[in-house]
Amino acid sequence: MRGEAMKMTIFGARGSYPLSRRDQLRYGGNSTCIHFQTASGDDLILDGGSGIRLLGDEMMTRQFGSGQGRAYILVGHTHWDHILGYPFFAPFYRPGNRFVVVSAGQTNAHIREILSGQHEDMHFPVPFEDLSADLEYLTFRPGQHLALGGFKVETVQLNHPGITVGYRIEADGAVATVFTDTARVTKARLGDGMGGPDPDDGFSKEFKSRLAHCARGSNVLVHDSHFLEHEIVGRYHWGHSTFEDALEMAHLADVGTLVLFHHAPEHSDAVVDEKLAMARDLADGVSVEAACEGMTMELGRSRRPQSGEWQADVVDWGADGGQKGAL
């Protein structure tokens, strides 16, 4: 059903790896996948963890089932938990569907190689060439603005091993920002190119304000909340946050709702409940939810909508326009 506003649906909220446990049925065990849809029906997918299989089944009941769908796929990063579902995404196997895979990187070949690597015959029975949908690639540098059909997207590099991207996604006057995997910057600098001479050189402050700028005034901030405080000690370099870190960012960026995300596989529903309750105690004006599979949010107008002079660095005009590529 299409509404008046952009809709966000969580298909996988678990981090590190998918897991099936009976005490995790409410929040779910599928790894990361979030779906966005504008009021006019444009589709955008963030991450292809195991949750994307269920999203794909849902999409096949729409125009993707008859090979007439098109969607953007934003690649947050390419660690297993965020990509292992792509080979099981049914709309990829229907000729006529068109996908634009959007990722940070030097070349289109790079992301194609990573995705096709999952289909190498030693590791997967179906070759990448059997993906009969039309896959195109669009690359950007973190920090660039992307105009993707009905979506205005801003990007920022997160503090996580390799290159991991946080996305600000705006459509229909609403904004959702997603930081799936990011570590406490005062304790570790993990992203490629983020190494610095010493902890007091101002980098941490600058980094936090860069992330807060990306998330500014969002209706919703979906944020890594993998560890509890007693678990993160000694594991800062694993690349994840606590709910306290997520709350700090929510306050800095003045967001409406914080959605705790990337739940640790070891955490039962009861532990996530507890994490949510503790976060709400400290929320101080921010509304807090914990992401669970199947959760849908209709995003109202942003508290701080985009200013008029927003400029795109990379443009894909969507279904109607023929033009595409970096400006």
Binding site: Y17, P18, L19, G29, S50, H79, F88, F124, G162, W238
Partner: protein, 288 residues
Amino acid sequence: MIRVRFWGCRGSVASPGRATARYGGNTACVHVVGYDSHEPGAGAHPDNPQVVLDGGTGLALLQSVLMRGLLGRGKGHAHVMLTHFHWDHLIGLPFFTPLFIPGNKVSFYGACDQRVQSSIERLFTSVYSPIKGTEHLAAELEYRKLDPTGETVDGFEVSVADNRHPGGALSIRLQYGDRSIVYSTDHEIGDEAIDEKLVELARGADLWIMDAQYRPEQLARHIGWGHSSHIDAVRLALRAKVRKVALFHHKPDHDDHELDRMGLEAQQEAGDHGLKIVVARDGLVMDL
């Protein structure tokens, strides 16, 4: 005696959720423990001889059990046998806790030592893993070819035979004392020469864990994909005169009710030949 515990019974991709809550949604991982004593609880001792079959997402649940033994103290030696190198059988390994503890040794076995090694290394490369390479793992790693003429691993006599599966896969027989189990996930029944060798491998086993991904009508649409129907599995098991069959490698979208039905149909197919059918589920323990 042998204790078998199933930690992941799904094929292809993990499928957690309410619809699969009873049988579980983890991909292939089976823990096989050998023990000698008849005392109650003997099979549960953490440092019994033991082998891990496949490293699917079920491994994440098994590892907490393993960590109670020597592996938790950096003095353990894990034996992980890989039937083949499809992701659903490997994807639990990037977070296998014993790998991160100095002093442990982890031996990986498979049809070919180089392919075992390149698969494990692939799992940990920097594009896919925050570990950025197996050289950052604390445990000592060993890659070994499973000897086709048979060998002994941690007290188990091990023998293997080839499955019919894209890219190949092994069936593994583990014998401990006078008990034996055979693990044949990812096999498409229908090539008589291959099936006959598997029947020989499984002959008289106490338990045969068998690929039963499809219903016959689904199989008809997936010829050549390397999986079998529950009905074909029962028929092959009857030829091998095994005691029990565990139906395994469930299709991700088969829900609990579907698996209930397939279990009943399989038991019906077994008739009155004394063959017992179990539908494998995450957490199931069988003492043989």
